[in-house]
Amino acid sequence: MTVALSGDEVAGKLKKKFPGSIVESGADSLLVKSESLLEIAAFLKTAPGLEFDYLDFITSVDYLDYFEVVYQLISIKHNHSLVLKSRCYERENPALPSVVSLWRGADFQEREIYDLMGISFEGHPDLKRIFLWEGFPGHPLRKDFK
């Protein structure tokens, strides 16, 4: 059975190394500041005992006040998982660091989020629309899309 690690448990391991980066932690997830997302993700990927070598999926939700990007991480070695989240409060040009440098599986998924939700991923090797054509007006998965 894949053990879902609690956000609190992982937050305890991160607090010392990344003071002030953890916004919220709960039983199901861990919410971190977007500025430290890449550093924390890199730490989670290699830290002994955690070793999240497999990025299960990325998705995004538009809560109107903010965009939430959800990363489901899995460690194949330890068979445990973690839901890592980060938020963008900017509506005009929301951006997050790209995690493609850590997990290449993020490549098409970040493009999908950029295409349909309009969140940019800084450092992505080839960020462009994936399903819709260049010049399509707006981002359909946003709640205010008409």
Partner: protein, 367 residues
């Protein structure tokens, strides 16, 4: 004498029989050798994730049929699991077993297409494919019996399945289960050690273990690279923890291994169905839920081992009758991430085999 050459760009697809749908590869060739490739998606994009936000949880089930249309049953399965997790719905035991039986039949039917078209791509034109289609037909007949459909089943419901199996189902399933292993043997005898198949597929399009994990590959693509990761085993859902079965693995991660893993998985599916038939309990099959189900506000992710890899649904509820967010973790889109790495340096004819060995369904890639 030096011959002056220059790279040449070929648009492979979207209308081409070897793309298995409407997929486009923008290949840069040096003579016959692929030096660069860019996949182009979106020709079948219907905006299912957005459409689903405007329909009730029950109305969204038929949408899932239309994603990976070669494996509608497992799409239904993954979605209802996520919706049940979100709403906290219990499922009758008989329905769990029926779901497993249908999901494993679907795996066989889907692998039949994967293997058949793969051999087509290898040049064993249509004959093995037709042999395979003959067996798939029997599975479609079985599905027809339980839900009246042969492609888009819409069979599973939040809280169970829509119909109990009719009287004639079990004898027909029993007959199929008894015949299928012999058919796979026959198929193996003709093809597994076929010299041409070995020459075309062995060592072609290798996906190393480390890269497979890094690109989040799943399903037979991941297991052919030697990673023992089958969601039915590592995170059992429904009643999968009650069955004995093995997880076939590859070692080289080449096109041949991906083909072999699929053939062996069909045998394991037969094993699971046989056990499920023996254990199938009596009782209700549907714990009926209100049509306008309003799950408590929150989020849920449920995933299954679909024929093409890990299929998952991430649902967010705001306590209304429609999902606030409906995201699909599409295994085939993610499995394509490494396609470029796998085909660079191979000839065009090999590129088609490598692409075929990943086994994609554009309905799911583009959604």
């Amino acid at each position: 004498m030096a011959i002056k050459t220059e790279p040449f760009v070929v648009n492979f697809g979207p209308q081409h029989p070897s793309t298995h749908g409407v997929f486009r590869m923008r290949m840069t060739l040096d003579g016959e050798v692929v030096v660069d490739m860019e996949p182009v998606f979106g020709y079948l994009h219907r905006g299912i994730e957005k459409l689903a936000e405007g329909r009730t949880y029950t109305q969204d089930i038929p949408f899932t049929d239309r994603m990976d249309y070669l494996a509608s049953m497992t799409n239904n399965f993954a979605y209802v699991l996520a919706a049940e997790k979100l709403a906290g719905v219990a499922v009758p035991e008989r329905a769990e077993y029926l779901r497993v039986i249908m999901a494993e039949l679907q795996r066989i039917a889907s692998h039949i297409i994967a293997v058949g078209t793969f051999l087509n791509d290898c040049g064993a034109f249509v004959t093995p494919f037709m042999y395979m289609m003959r067996e798939r037909e029997k599975i479609l007949d079985l599905f027809d019996m339980v839900c009246g459909q042969r492609l888009t089943y819409n069979y599973m419901r939040i809280g169970g399945v829509s119909h109990d199996i009719p009287e004639e189902f079990m004898p027909a399933l029993d007959k199929f289960i008894r015949e299928m292993p012999g058919f796979i043997d026959e198929y193996d005898q003709l093809l597994a050690d076929n010299e041409i198949l070995l020459a075309r597929a062995k060592g072609v399009g290798i996906l190393p273990k480390k890269l497979a994990i890094n690109i989040s590959a799943s399903g037979p693509v991941l297991r052919a690279s030697g990673v023992n990761w089958d969601i039915r085993k590592v995170n059992p859902y429904s009643v999968y923890d009650r069955f004995e079965f093995d997880v076939p693995l590859g070692s080289a991660g080449d096109s041949y291994d991906r083909y072999r893993v699929r053939v062996q998985e069909m045998r394991q599916s037969v094993r699971i169905i046989r056990q499920a038939m023996e254990q199938l309990p009596e009782g209700e099959v549907w714990n009926r839920m209100p049509l306008r189900l309003r799950p408590p506000a929150g989020e849920a992710y449920a995933h299954i081992e679909a024929p093409r890899g890990e299929l998952g649904f991430y649902l967010v509820s705001d306590h209304s009758a429609t999902p606030y967010r409906f995201h699909v973790r599409a295994p085939t889109l993610i499995n394509l991430t490494a396609l470029r790495d796998m085909i660079i340096g191979w000839k065009v004819a090999d590129a088609i085999i490598i692409f075929g060995s990943i086994d994609i369904c554009l309905g799911e890639v583009d959604r």
